[in-house]
Symmetry: C2
């Protein structure tokens, strides 16, 4: 693991590392913010998954989350959105496929399958790396994300309900098999068998009876992708039918961008803190 | 005035406009954040001046200031750092001269003098435009900035003590005539007469007996430009000699970047609010 950057922020440390990934067969980059509390004791972790075209830099620069993480005493781990590099397949004319668009799944199709194993990377390799190398509490993890990363956070949580304590999302792609983004990318990464697509689709996983952790979702009403790409109403409908609690809010007049995320990230981190910091306190006080 | 963008954030509105500038003889761009309070009544304004290479976008994206502005009920006005456009002179191989590097002065030398009138733009044309078109209180203005913009904020305040209520700066170029940045740029913009340079130099203005408004300055100790470019110790020394109050803080381990600004922008806006919002309340309650 190689430290690329270390910057003080809100009395904690924002750092960037690269490492050779066994899952993705390439060098991967992530950022981590350690709050000031981590100088004294291990802290819980929230994993943040970013959206299409992003790297680990967007969230740490634009969301204003470090202030809240510092106050709450929670670390933020911010991975890249896909494998990267000259040796990694890409679709250079597409923003929604290839590098920057890993969709947090395990690809089974050529040429993607060797590197595009983001689901295993996020749920296994990266947490192990973080828990081996930083002062974090192993069993106190939550996960959140935006757009494609909201999809990723929901899928990771639905498939690993005992691994995370809570999940949240901003403007998530809730039903990718019904969305042009999902259809074209799942076809490319997973092949033609739609049964395999459902394994990486939050709404389909819930139809298939997955259980939902404490979950908070915010969606802007002026989101330019809402009508054709996101389908939160499908997820809400399944939760209603199955009697599953879901903290879902439409936010009037907000769009899809990072100013929307910035406006509500404080509420999201406070939501996760309910499930992370009370347990952290009882472990360490 | 043409609206280029309008995004909801923290229940207020972040907007971007362009307009034909009479001072700068070109189209200028600025951003403005109106807090939710501005729906009900006029609000005070803080002008923010950014540093070298920035546009109006950096601060609004990276500093996390809108949250505090929303809470305090203060508008933020964020101009560009120079005139722009194909018809505007530039030094394409220099990041510290020409477009993106206006230094907030009135240039007198060719080829700069026609467009590079940023001092008049910031202290006259832009406030008039803002006060004519937005729900702001005319007499409640403060000014702040970062690096080159910290220099600009200090100079604007020192030269117009009755126009602003307070001033603050992050990592400002405190003594440009002693700095390589200042020397080369002041030479280019203002010519060889160093007496003219002192008119746009905070430390020199204070030596010449200018009065200082309530002023807060933060400076990171790990700032990569501190030793050779900023010279806050010169400003502090003049204030000490003249018995002028200055709220100056070295911040241990912080660098020159926007994560430093983000860490303390809340304290800066709260500092300005002392001089802006109590007066706003007495005017409007």
């Amino acid at each position: 693991m190689k430290q690329l950057e270390r910057v003080k922020e809100f009395d904690g440390w924002l750092m960037r590392y690269s490492h050779d990934s066994a899952c993705c067969h390439c060098e991967m980059t992530f950022s981590i913010y350690l709050p000031p509390a981590a100088k004294e004791r291990p802290v819980p972790v929230i994993y943040w998954l970013s959206g299409l075209t992003c790297t680990d830099d967007n969230f740490r620069t634009k969301a204003g989350a470090q202030r809240y993480a510092a106050e709450l005493g929670i670390a933020l781990v911010i991975p890249d959105t896909s494998p990267r590099g000259d040796a990694v397949p890409d679709a250079v004319d597409r923003y929604d496929l290839g590098q920057g668009a890993g969709f947090y799944l395990n690809a089974s199709q050529e040429p993607w399958s060797r590197n595009y194993q983001m689901y295993d990377y996020i749920t296994q390799e990266l947490p192990t790396l973080i828990e081996t190398n930083f002062p974090v509490i192993e069993d106190l993890r939550s996960i959140s994300g935006h757009s494609m990363g909201g999809h990723g956070a929901l899928v990771c949580a639905l498939k690993n309900p005992s691994f995370y304590r809570s999940v949240s999302a901003f403007s998530p792609i809730c039903h990718p098999v019904a969305s042009a983004w999902g259809k074209t990318c799942f076809q490319a990464y997973l092949g033609g068998d739609e049964k395999r697509w459902r394994e990486f689709d939050a709404t389909e996983l819930l139809i298939d009876k997955a259980e939902l952790l404490p979950c908070k979702i915010d969606q802007g009403t002026e989101d330019e992708f809402l009508a054709d790409y996101l389908f939160p109403q499908h997820l809400v409908s399944v939760c209603e039918k199955r009697g599953i609690a879901l903290n879902f809010m439409y936010r009037q007049e907000y769009d899809h961008g990072y100013h929307f995320v910035a406006s509500f990230i404080g509420e999201h981190l406070a939501f996760h803190a309910q499930y992370l910091t009370s347990m952290a306190s009882s472990n360490w006080e």
